[in-house]
Symmetry: C3
Subunit: 474 residues, 3 copies
């Protein structure tokens, strides 16, 4: 037994010795299964180009808003962490930002990000746990050690893809993306992995997006088959979805403000669309249009088979001055309460029992797990409960999730784990965390004689491997 | 020690050995106490007529929307499960539906329904656990075994009533029900049990109920003493409540949309009533009338002593096509968030300290347990916290409930367990589950030295036996 | 090992033996650290005057609405518990009320108040646990024993201050309070403790407060420097805050209806102010004015350095008849759901990153811990997550709190414990409870290899001692 918590074979497993022993055996069933990542944000170009990562900071710190946000909360400006297009570039700036991160390292104890980073440092980059325990005093040594690894051909993106045992990695892509990198990878016989695009049309649907009009104009130009107006807009979306399907996409993802859906008449929808094109849409128009477009997206998913995933309930860019200075995705998207029961109903009226329609509902508001999502997914064949996501993608939150949904919906109605990350090197730690927590939850049910041990061994494989294949049509 | 989880004497008890030992001893105090069921849906005719149950499917599957909903979610049409008046009848249809259920049996692992069904199969019907573990492969054998039992005189409803050790069983009844079956049972000296009616006036109060006008007209005809209009409607409700009291009823139950209550002036209330009779009531009128009628029902409970129970917060018949095809109570009532603090206030202003008024507040929204119900019941003598109900009637949810309410309201302010079921054979398993979980919760408090062991032994008897007698005036 | 649960050295620690051993060692680090109480309701006069407490009931029962509320729920009128200005006075009345309390003592099993009271009885007043276990049969004996202690010079407030090992005790004070008692204590060289005032302007801000106009008029008279109108009102508040700062205050506390904040234009704010002075303010005006004044209070805190604490989400004086008979703070303030994400945003736009601004957000709605408060405090340097407060100040609720916030915000973003009490003798038990629960939570993370044991030993000292000093600028 080592002193490193990241190397401890029992990490994240329950403390009670009897339950832990059951959990160990369940975990062993899935420890080495390949990683299926049906939703995430790693750029396909990283894998296709296979360029070395440049430096520790831009790989591990600056782009990870889970990490920079907590350091920012301690009083460090984001600019000192390499965030934003105006951040200083070069090795000195990278090293300076890394030092700020290393000083702040103790803030991460007990957090999900801290757990993943420690795993990466020890398992991916081979730092000794004593160095990680005192990262603040070892900032430069750790930086140099990681930088040296990054320069090693064994740390190129494709080699890591293999070492991480990734079988499927989904990216998140603009509807007008050519998917050139995906195409290159698909044709490359030297690359055995599967990197698939995801259709993410938010900026084309959200009337409040600053580029909505420009993007919609470009969408019409490129894909409307010459059909004008709202009909052409829908046609273009359908065409681009088909293009994504042809390039291997399995799902369309929607980051919406609320779970509201709405079936407007074609005339009403067109009127809103034209009003927005004239720059006259109100906040209420924005919500109504987004709600109607979720209905249209569901209809298209029924027709073209793309799994529909919805991520509502985040107040995006909560701090306007930070948004102005550093842009979006800089750590101040803050969740709020949602109402799925009433919001999602219009879609479910028409498509809740549609053949092969898969609708995965994510939430940042834990209260809907037992109250709304388990009851919905426990009736509607189309509905799957999204795995705990974002702020809830952490050991205790995952256990609360399973406790909240299982007694109503069992194990068959949840989506399977998604890592939702652009932190490439954290992918193994994230999936391993999920597997350990699933083993922990099942072990408790076995220890309490609520589940046979034999069945728990079947269930953990189903949860880790079969569920994402089934739900995301992999 | 057997391999059967349903037969394991430690089932549902905590895994920690020390805590489990305490829980075992607490459970032993209440294991054999009689069942008090002050709220449920078993028809009184079943007990009064004492006819044999016809077949496994119509007893255990078709009418149980907890069961059919999860099979439906897996893609099986409700029609194949014997749901709805149009479902095929006869032994072949019953057996076919049973096979669909048996195939779907693995979906129920980890669910409350799965736990109850397994208990019934093993404890009531004597199926071997190996047969239950692989029900899909043993569908016909299990069907035949259960059918054989049902043909046995030992499985008539009254004999089961005794075997289940039921002392009191409350039914749920229409205000105009003659209560003939209850009367027959009361007079029958060969039957020692107590089967009592419950006054449930929802369709006479909910203006949106399709039969509201017809039912209210019939109510007026039968019970208004010739008083016309709204005054006659109130008089008729009072008269029928008195009739229920005379036939042994102890409570009036209200399935309302929200917890809103409201004291309208007589003129306002009458105007809404007449508007509804003209077929002109809006959704807002419906809510206002229901809210006012909850005020009137509280007033009547203060006067006639019927315990008032409220079950708000379920979006009934969420999927319109299923409702159209199969009717109500077919698995798609979906909870939503409620606000008891503001909603129930008008009733509490006037009746919160009324002598002998008992108001039991149920919820499907767990967030109100610590935030609203424990604080309300910890001050108002009339208010009791309803036991975890429906989707929350399950081991983990029950533990969350106790954890949420006890630190504010102690043990004296909760209602005691209700099974709320029409699944007659599940009643012993449901009450046993509750007793095991109460023992588990108390055992943890003892193990953490938050409660003396002597006091825990008193409390578990109070919770299981004295509380329902006290709260429901049994 | 004694039989007394209050004397058990392992009380409140986790049952699992391995985890308990870790928790014991963590608790030992902080068991004897001085008490820092940056928010509470003990009158400064008690310490300054150092008069003996008069009797057990007026010290332990009548003023503690946590205690009287649960006895009231069991059917005892508040008048029989010595509540309200009309309650009978004198030894006979005190003893009669005590007997009602002692009879009701079993109701408190499992509650936080019961746990604290038992600790006080055994640790502060030295009652044997056998007497406490059967308080109903020992009412007079216990009364006499406590009364005898209160007559002892060793039980004067200052001596208890020392015995309780209190280093800092903050009171809660009216803006126009002269702080005479605080001044006396500060000058008294025989008293080593620190008793500091807290600026609490609610009745000067809440337009619905019955004395708002009168108080604001007096405020203007005393502190507006002759400036008229709304500008003078703001000037007076600024002046009184400065007075509090000069007398040692570190924070300003705000008991608001909701977390809503709003930046009105000076003209709009002044118009509302004048409308209220004319007695014409509506409920919407009240909310808007309070929201704007929270913005002004934040601005003043940025300027004068007072930590700003907010306590929203309680429906005050829920039962109007009880309020009419007994006044405020008599046990019927009932929580409701809040929305911090949208409500607090206007303040955070302008002051969320302001230098040295500390904004502590409390909640009675647990759902915001993981959904809103941890995400907010995990980004904004000004925001700290308020410790579980009021109904949530209890072992299980504290564990739920840590589980809900830590994975997102770590340990550095929470406020540290506050006891918020006027029950002076409960202060040691409350702080001890918090320390035991922090040890329990950290021990679980260690046992699950999510935290090194070395780091847990650092963290518990930080949580108990450094955090309140840092967050409250002690």
């Amino acid at each position: 037994m080592t002193d490193s918590i990241a190397a401890n074979p029992d990490r994240l497993l329950p403390a009670d010795p009897g339950t832990r022993q059951i959990a160990r055996e369940l975990y062993a069933d899935v420890e080495h299964l390949p990683i299926l990542s049906p939703h995430g944000h790693v750029p396909a170009e990283w894998i296709a180009d296979d360029e070395p990562f440049t430096d520790p900071t831009s790989l591990l710190v600056s782009p990870d808003h889970y990490v920079t946000r907590l350091i920012h909360a301690s009083g460090v400006p984001l600019s000192e962490l390499g965030v934003g297009s105006g951040a200083p570039q070069g090795e000195a700036a990278s090293r300076a930002a890394w030092r700020r991160f290393a000083e702040a390292w103790p803030l991460f104890d007990g957090t999900a990000s801290g757990y993943w980073l420690r795993s990466e440092f020890e398992h991916v980059f081979g730092l000794p746990s004593s160095m990680v325990d005192a990262l603040g005093s070892n900032a430069d040594t750790a930086y140099d050690a990681i930088a040296a690894k990054l320069a090693d051909p064994g740390f190129r993106p494709r080699r890591l893809f293999e070492d991480f045992n990734i079988e499927v990695l989904a990216t998140t892509d603009d509807p007008l993306d050519t998917l050139e990198a995906h195409g290159r990878l698909a044709k490359d016989e030297s690359f055995a992995g599967r990197v698939i695009p995801t259709f993410r049309p938010d900026p084309y649907i959200n009337l409040a997006h600053p580029e909505w009009a420009a993007r919609v104009a470009r969408l019409a130009d490129e894909a409307s088959d010459g059909v004008p107006g709202f009909a052409g807009y829908l046609r273009a979306l359908e065409n681009r979805r088909r293009y994504f399907v042809e390039h291997g996409a399995v799902s369309a993802d929607h980051g919406v403000r609320t779970p509201l859906t709405l079936k407007l008449s074609p005339t009403e929808a067109e009127a809103l669309f034209e009003k927005a094109r004239r720059g006259e849409a109100t906040a209420a128009d924005r919500d109504a249009f987004e709600a109607h477009m979720m209905y249209e997206m569901a209809r298209m998913s029924v027709e073209d088979g793309l799994v529909m995933t919805i991520h509502p309930g985040s107040f995006r860019n909560h701090h306007a001055p930070t948004f102005a200075a550093y842009g979006a995705d800089t750590g101040h998207d803050i969740p709020f309460a949602v109402n799925y029961t009433e919001g999602i109903r219009p879609v479910l009226q028409d498509f809740g029992t549609a053949k092969d329609f898969h609708l995965v509902l994510f939430t940042l508001d834990e209260t809907v797990f037992s109250r709304e999502l388990a009851p919905l997914a426990g009736f509607y064949p189309s509905v799957y409960i999204g795995a705990p996501w974002w702020f809830l993608d952490a050991p205790d939150a995952m256990l609360r999730f399973r406790s909240a949904v299982t007694e109503t919906a069992g194990f068959s109605r949840s989506s399977g784990f998604i890592d939702d990350t652009r932190a490439y090197c954290s992918i193994p730690a994230r999936h391993d965390t999920s597997r350990r927590i699933e083993a922990s939850f099942l072990a408790r049910l076995v220890a309490e004689h609520r589940l046979t041990e034999a069945r728990a061994h079947e269930l953990i494989v189903d949860i880790v491997d079969a569920a994402p294949r089934r739900v995301f049509k992999l």
